[in-house]
């Protein structure tokens, strides 16, 4: 496990450095082959990690609601005690794997391979540097998901900005500079607020005598045993969640997203929508939900659920109004991430499972949509719905893939979107039916704008822009290689979600156990089997029973 995990982290990093070092000597065709080899090897390594993960014991009875099933630590920086009475503090390179991170890691490595494949012909200028950025992004994303130390988490969370800044800014569309600067400064500023919150939390823990105050499992265990006062919890939660709210992005903080998506090259959009946005929800899941249960229940639930519902409806309405397909997909992301947040803030096992699954589902389906939109753009150099009609006759396979992914995205039963949205909304229904009902309207709106787009662009009489002598061909083998695995996974999760749900179940249950459930009967018809109740956590004083 240790070997595969380190290999998984180092493969993209080493490949990126090789590309950077040899960028003068490499032409486009060699650079992309090296990048493909590196990312494919990382995918294999992540699958090996997943394979070995099956045999790891689930550490039941842990005192912490966050517990990696495998861990690897090395001291990073130790502050020796300043005086005899003061505590020593240290940060670690603390890597670990739990079910949630495992799924997201495999999603990242899979989408990176797809990103390399989709950029195969379209990135000609400075190709080695482009692939270097993509692989650095992959390495840092995998790193965030494995990080169980607060400082390491934050460092990698911040680092993801740099490669994506270059990907958008150098290889993007006409407004790329503005989009890249806005994306960077907006998210950087917000994550500084997160840093304030994290520093306050870590120092409070250090002064309370926690042995390793930056370790997320230790922090969570300490906060479970000694809950902070509600006011302090609320302040810390709001500070820490600021960076995540912008990253997701929740409703009033979403303005950077459509711009960044429209200007980014296809590979950038795929990774941005597919994985990067999940850093926000993952941050909630890793830091806010396990650490500040009182705050999440009293302030977080009404606040974030309201913002999520507004995001769902507002994002869907914006998507309806778009004529640019890519922008439409970008706004649909805002809506889908809203479902994700509704699921997470249902604060019960169904909702959390649904939220996590929705993270994966959105990663797959939106990445698929961006890939297909990119393929259309490569062929016609336009993404305007007014210029493209009836493409199904010209591009039957591409249209077929588009219909499939669209169905997955709008949540057709039997495909992955349905499972995630259903669990999220079902979880929220138990917690607060109003949010669930309002959120459910997003499903209808989602079907409306996605099917409307599908009908305009792919069906009806053929009308395509003039495209010179260039022959427009259907999906080629390379493109199929990028999109087919995504379709297969969409179907797999839709038909048989149990393996995925089982992977995340212990982690989700551990978090859900922190929260009092509104009624016992409702949780009896859980789809996933109930966990061992942790009496000491459930019955702890200070937990709020609404």
């Amino acid at each position: 496990m240790k070997f595969w995990l380190l290999l998984l982290l180092s493969l993209p990093l080493v490949t990126a450095l090789v590309l950077l070092a040899l960028r003068r000597a490499l032409d486009q065709s060699l650079a992309r082959k090296i990048a493909l080899a590196g990312s494919a090897a990382a995918l294999v390594a992540s699958l090996m990690v997943a394979y070995e993960f099956q045999s790891l014991p689930t550490s039941g009875g842990s005192a912490s609601p966050v517990h990696p099933r495998f861990e690897l630590r090395h001291t990073w920086l130790t502050y020796a005690a300043v005086s005899d009475t003061s505590p020593e503090m240290h940060f670690d390179y603390f890597l670990g794997i739990d079910g949630i991170s495992l799924l997201l890691i495999v999603l990242t490595t899979l989408l990176t391979v797809a990103s390399v494949l989709i950029s195969w012909d379209s990135i000609r200028d400075r190709a080695a540097e482009f692939y270097c950025c993509l692989l650095l992004l992959e390495a840092s994303l995998v790193g965030v998901f494995c990080a169980f130390d607060v400082v390491l988490f934050y460092v990698l969370f911040e680092f993801t900005l740099i490669p994506l800044f270059f990907v958008i800014g150098i290889w993007g569309g006409p407004l790329r500079q503005y989009a890249a600067m806005k994306f960077f400064l907006y998210t950087f500023t917000a994550s500084l607020v997160t840093l304030v919150g994290l520093v306050a939390l870590v120092l409070a823990a250090a002064q309370a005598g926690v042995a390793s105050p930056t370790s997320i499992p230790d922090l969570a265990a300490w906060l479970t045993a000694n809950p902070l006062s509600r006011e302090l919890q609320i302040a810390l939660m709001l500070a820490i969640s600021t960076g995540f709210m912008v990253k997701i992005p929740l409703f009033p903080f979403h303005t950077w997203l459509p711009l960044a998506h429209v200007e980014a090259p296809t590979a950038g959009s795929v990774l941005l929508a597919g994985v990067l946005l999940k850093l926000g929800t993952f941050g909630f899941l890793r830091l806010c939900l396990p650490m500040f249960p009182d705050a999440c229940l009293t302030v977080g639930l009404p606040l974030f659920a309201t913002l999520a519902v507004i995001g769902i409806i507002y994002g869907s309405l914006c998507a309806l109004a778009q004529r640019d397909i890519k922008k439409l997909v970008a706004y649909s992301s805002i809506a889908h991430l809203g479902f994700c947040m509704l699921g997470l803030f249902a604060l019960n096992a169904e909702g959390l499972s649904g939220g996590v699954l929705q993270m994966i589902n959105h990663g797959l389906s939106t990445a698929g949509l961006f890939l297909l939109v990119g393929m259309i753009y490569d062929r016609y150099h336009t993404r305007q719905m007014d210029d493209l009609h009836g493409l199904a006759t010209r591009l039957p396979l591409l249209a077929c893939a588009m219909v499939f992914i669209t169905m997955a995205s709008i949540g057709l039963p039997g495909l992955n979107g349905f499972v995630g949205e259903f669990l999220s909304l079902a979880g929220m229904f138990q917690r607060d039916a109003v949010f669930a009902v309002l959120g459910a309207t997003g499903v209808i709106l989602g079907a409306w704008y996605m099917l409307g787009m599908l009908q305009t662009v792919f069906f009806g009489p053929l009308h395509e822009p003039t495209h010179g002598d260039q022959r427009v061909g259907d999906l080629n083998g390379r493109e199929a290689l990028a999109i087919v695995p995504i379709c297969v996974l969409c179907l797999w999760i839709g038909v048989m979600p149990q393996p995925f749900l089982r992977t995340i179940q212990p982690d989700v249950d551990a978090i859900a156990a922190l929260y009092a459930q509104p009624s016992r009967t409702a949780s009896a018809d859980r789809e996933s089997s109930p966990s061992q109740p942790r009496a000491n956590i459930v019955a702890r004083p200070g937990s709020v029973v609404p």
Binding site: P87, R176, A180, F184, L192, L195, V199, L203
Partner: protein, 496 residues
């Protein structure tokens, strides 16, 4: 008799490295003047020999220092302690880097004097930390200042440069006067010039720390030293001087005076509180308030003014003002319980030195359209004309922003942890100001990175030249920022 001889031996052992530097500087002054013809011409390539000689002298000083016994001494004219160890490492390191930047920026005829002045400045910076007497500290401060005036004036390229030198000279003299006046009050209060003696006397008289005379002394010392630190409101000379002088001098001015001022501040201002451990210095409330005010104003003024700059060196000068503010946060918050605030400040100083010298070295190593880079628009397309320099410069700029994976992140994080862990409202407000300023500063550093990478290459037929010694200095700095991020323990252990 034996005791006196032993004390002299001890003192010589402490300052032997500086003696080597000063002796080499004298030798260079002497020999240099014979190698120049009456018309001011010199054999081409002479600068390489003096550059090598300067590096050898710096290496020799380091070797002598590390081989001599380094036991702590706090009696006599010189002292040897943790602060000397830290200051000497930084000044020798900065000296080597600036010497490399200076290498090709000075003509052959003036290379001997320029490198000799640099060695004298390095020696002075270490001596400030070694001095155990008000008089020696003042002499050491002047050993930094006077060669600086000469060094700034040596290239004599244009009137702007001369004007800048005169401006620096006049204001520097004024600040030296302030420091001297502060020292006089200190002497008046304690009746001795020996630092250990002053500390003993003042500790024994209760209420000394809050007496008006000592507050005045501290205020004057802080004002005089803040000039060197380019902290608000003593920063007005910095942009003009940085803009006009050669890049090597800008690199020197961006770091060495800050180092000197930090060391002198730590030696002189805590004397009144009678603290035995400098790293546990607890300033009185009025001094805390003064330092905090200067810190906050420096951060905001520096960063907001840097937004508007078109000239790269003016921008870096204002960024230096802001960084002086960050540095002063470490002094203003007082002793912190988890992460030592003075440790954090010195860590930041070292990190800032690496980043800013690196950035200036790389700026001066590249060319735009055949000429030096001066304006921000000159950076356009640098990632294509000089990809190596652009990448390394981007690393330094990201480090100045405080982004991972560079040690600039840890520099700010340490200060932030220290300020927050103090736990009072002053510490927390300073921490929040720091975070806010990191966000403000990100904009103008990022703009430079964007210019290098995101803008198309301008039409130019001029050949691209690279100043390799300067490039080397920059590369060392950029690589160091990444290495110290991966293993910050090396840098932190050196402080403890």
């Amino acid at each position: 008799m034996n005791a006196a001889i032993e004390q002299i031996n001890q003192a010589i052992a402490i300052v032997a490295p500086e003696a080597i530097l000063v002796a080499t500087a004298c030798l260079m002054f002497l020999v240099g003047s014979f190698l120049v013809t009456d018309s001011g011409q010199a054999r081409s390539g002479l600068r390489h020999q003096f550059g090598v000689l300067a590096l050898i002298a710096l290496a020799g000083a380091a070797v002598v220092w590390l081989t001599l016994d380094a036991k702590p001494v706090d009696q006599g004219p010189f002292r040897s302690d943790q602060l000397l160890w830290i200051a000497r490492t930084m000044s020798l390191g900065a000296g080597a880097l600036v010497s490399l930047i200076l290498w090709n920026q000075i003509d052959d005829a003036h290379a001997a004097e320029a490198q000799a002045c640099l060695l004298a400045i390095v020696a002075g910076a270490s001596l400030v930390a070694a001095a155990n007497d008000l008089v020696t500290i003042f002499l050491a401060l002047e050993l930094v200042s006077i060669p600086t005036y000469v060094l700034l004036f040596l290239p004599r390229r244009n009137t702007a440069e001369r004007e800048a030198t005169v401006k620096y000279f006049l204001l520097s003299i004024f600040s030296s006067g302030l420091v001297l006046y502060g020292m006089a009050w200190l002497y008046g209060a304690a009746g001795t010039t020996n630092l250990t003696g002053i500390s003993d006397t003042l500790t024994q008289s209760p209420g000394a720390a809050t007496s008006g005379a000592l507050l005045l002394a501290q205020g004057l010392l802080i004002a005089g030293l803040c000039f060197r630190m380019t902290a608000f409101p003593f920063h007005f000379y910095a942009p003009d001087v940085f803009q006009a002088v050669i890049p090597a001098n800008a690199a020197m001015l961006s770091f060495v005076p800050k180092l000197v001022a930090t060391v002198a501040l730590l030696r002189l201002v805590p004397l009144t509180s009678g603290s035995t451990d400098l790293f546990q210095w607890a300033p009185t409330d009025s001094i805390r308030a003064l330092l905090a005010l200067i810190a906050v104003l420096s951060m905001f003024v520096g960063n907001l003014m840097a937004w508007r700059q078109k000239n790269l060196y003016r921008l870096l000068a204002y960024s230096g003002v802001a960084n002086a503010g960050y540095l002063l946060v470490g002094f203003a918050v007082g002793p912190a319980p988890v992460v030592g605030s003075i440790h954090a400040a010195i860590f930041y100083l070292a990190v800032y030195g690496i980043m800013t010298i690196g950035a200036i070295a790389l700026l001066s190593s590249a060319t735009f359209d055949g000429g030096p880079l001066r304006q921000d628009s000159d950076l356009r397309g640098l990632s294509r004309t000089s990809p190596g320099a652009a990448l390394l410069l981007a690393v330094c700029l990201l480090s100045l922003t405080g982004l991972p994976p560079t040690v600039g992140f840890f520099g700010k994080l340490n200060l932030f942890l220290a300020a927050w862990s103090v736990g009072d409202s002053l510490g927390r407000s300073l921490a929040i100001c720091l975070a806010l300023n990191a966000a403000i500063a990100a904009w103008y550093y990022l703009r430079l990175v964007a210019l290098m990478y995101l803008e198309p290459m301008p039409e130019s037929t001029a050949a691209v030249r690279t100043d390799w010694p300067s490039w080397t200095a920059g590369a060392v700095c950029a690589i160091a920022t990444v290495c110290f991020f991966v293993a910050p323990q090396w840098l932190w252990m050196w402080l403890e």
